[in-house]
């Protein structure tokens, strides 16, 4: 139980740390709102030309856009989570200190990232979402059950997001400079999470593939639950399975990395 308290403290630290930078948060809110505006107009033009595309009506698409903007920094889909710091620590050799701590490396960073994610959701996500819901004809479920079911998908999405980014960070043990992998990661993230276009609009086999990949747990799965398009239990199972697989892989890579890689010194 003492261990549990430690990770809660780490998560609280992550939350407070991001909460410190108020100007950065305000800037992020502004930027997300501007991007949301651009997307909302392009999507509405698309749905104007083809109503009920992907099974969404226009109001549901509006909700989807603003949910995406709320999740962008929360789930660090375009980078900006703890993985950048971890990568830096691996490159400089500071990770040796982390490995000497009486705490598990993966759980430590997971806790820190969850703290960050919860802050980003409240600090950066809520305002653009509220702005979008007020200024555009958005679809909002009226029953509390749907909202509750949706709220469960959020932490699951956070864990899946971390699982992928942790693997990216660990690649720095071999590559040292993780910028390239990081970039590949956010590219895949944008495209495969449905941030550029809802995944149910993707055609045929491409659609089937992207909807089965872990990225669809990030935005598409929670959105479908909120919009009443998916069965919550099946969604949890899907997200949970990916979370378990990714965290398990992270463990394997972590033990390989710490066993055979020489820590950078100097």
């Amino acid at each position: 139980m003492g261990g549990g308290r430690l990770y809660v403290a780490v998560a609280a630290g992550g939350f407070r740390r991001y909460a410190t930078y108020r100007a950065a948060t305000a800037a992020g809110v502004f930027t997300n709102t501007v991007f949301g505006l651009i997307l909302v107009y392009t999507y509405r033009a698309l749905w104007d030309a083809k109503p009920h595309l992907g099974g969404y009506d226009e109001a549901q698409v509006v909700t989807y856009v603003w949910l995406g903007q709320a999740f962008l920094s929360t789930l660090a889909i375009g980078g900006g989570g703890v993985e950048e710091e971890l990568m830096d620590r691996i490159r400089t050799g500071d990770v040796a200190i982390d490995l000497h701590r009486p705490a598990d490396l993966q759980l430590w960073w997971l806790a820190a990232d969850l703290g960050r994610a919860f802050f980003q959701l409240l600090g950066r996500g809520l305002v653009p979402f509220a702005f979008g819901a007020l200024c555009f004809p958005a679809y909002l479920p009226t029953d509390a059950g749907t909202w509750l079911a949706f709220l469960v998908t959020v932490p699951l999405a956070m864990v899946v997001g971390f699982g992928m980014r942790y693997l990216v960070a660990l690649s720095a043990f071999w590559l040292l400079d993780g910028t390239g992998v990081g970039q590949m990661m956010w590219l895949a993230g944008y495209f495969c999470s449905g941030m550029l276009l809802p995944l149910n609009v993707f055609p045929g086999a491409l659609g089937e593939v992207v909807r089965a990949l872990p990225w669809s747990s990030l935005l598409q799965a929670p959105a479908d639950v909120l919009l009443g398009h998916a069965d919550p239990l099946r969604t949890y199972l899907f997200q949970g399975a990916w979370a378990a697989v990714l965290l398990g892989l992270g463990r394997l890579v972590q033990s390989a990395a710490t066993r055979r890689v020489v820590v950078q010194g100097g």
Partner: protein
């Protein structure tokens, strides 16, 4: 001025050499830069798998807008895109080092962390623009032909002005460097779509307040022979160089004001 350009060249060259120390990462990031914008275009293509026209524009016409926007922005991003790191330098006090060097600060900041990988975006934009030019139906006249290179150069200058103004803003707002992204990345994304898609107020804003519409919307609607959503005379399509010069002058003033207001952290 000449000293500034020379210094810019030397610092940029140094960063290119340093990037080449991690070749695998360079190859990946260049490809990534190419792919980042490529995915933007894939998204547009996916949209056009479902519809014939977006805001009344065909895929080739949207590609034309996209190419112009991506090339102009890509060139500006390649040249001085690292200026958004200025806030960090202000925060940790490393800007002081730049102030004591006998080289214009703007040249140093602009060349800081010069990233050759950003060519990826320019290449991708050029490919889309080239494809669009083979597909769109344009009644070419000498003036339209001349307008093309002028548009790209002016668009690049307008985006450079946005980058410089954004950097100047960071002297005041240190942590708020992300605001700039709304106008740079947000701007180029906005311009990739037809002006007919957006609300009139938004189009008015980017025409008269922050004149991003002069990067491609105004000249491109003229070249394509399409009406611009706002009632403007046709000759406005030829004003991007003037607008670009005005933007650069204003950005220069903002930069001076920002630099003068700088107070070191002292650490």
């Amino acid at each position: 001025m000449l000293a500034g350009v020379r210094a810019y060249g030397m610092i940029a060259g140094m960063w290119v050499r340093s990037t080449m120390a991690y070749r695998a990462s360079f190859a990946m990031t260049t490809f990534g830069n190419f792919a980042a914008t490529f995915f933007d275009f894939v998204t547009i293509m996916l949209m056009f798998l479902r519809v014939r026209a977006l805001g009344g524009y065909t895929l080739a016409e949207v590609a034309f807008l996209y190419g112009l926007s991506a090339v102009s922005f890509g060139l500006a991003d390649l040249a001085i895109g690292s200026m958004d790191r200025l806030g960090r330098r202000v925060r940790d006090g490393t800007l002081d080092t730049l102030l004591v060097r006998p080289v214009p600060v703007l040249a140093q900041v602009a060349a800081d962390r010069f990233a050759l990988r950003r060519l990826g975006r320019v290449v991708q934009g050029s490919l889309v623009l080239g494809w669009a030019l083979t597909r769109v139906e344009i009644d070419w006249t000498p003036s339209k032909l001349l307008l093309m290179p002028v548009t790209v150069a002016s668009g690049c200058a307008i985006f450079c002005a946005v980058f410089v103004a954004g950097a100047a803003f960071q002297f005041v707002a240190q942590d708020a460097s992300e605001v700039q992204n709304a106008f740079t990345y947000g701007g180029t994304t906005l311009l990739q779509y037809p002006p007919t898609v957006f609300a009139k107020e938004l189009v008015r804003g980017v025409t008269f307040v922050l004149p991003l519409a002069f990067v491609n919307w105004l000249p491109a609607t003229y070249v394509l022979g399409r009406p611009y959503p706002l009632d403007l005379p046709r000759w406005v399509a030829f004003t991007p160089p003037l607008v670009a010069a005005g933007c650069c002058a204003l950005a220069g003033l903002a930069w001076r004001a920002g630099l003068r207001s700088y107070r070191s952290t002292g650490s």
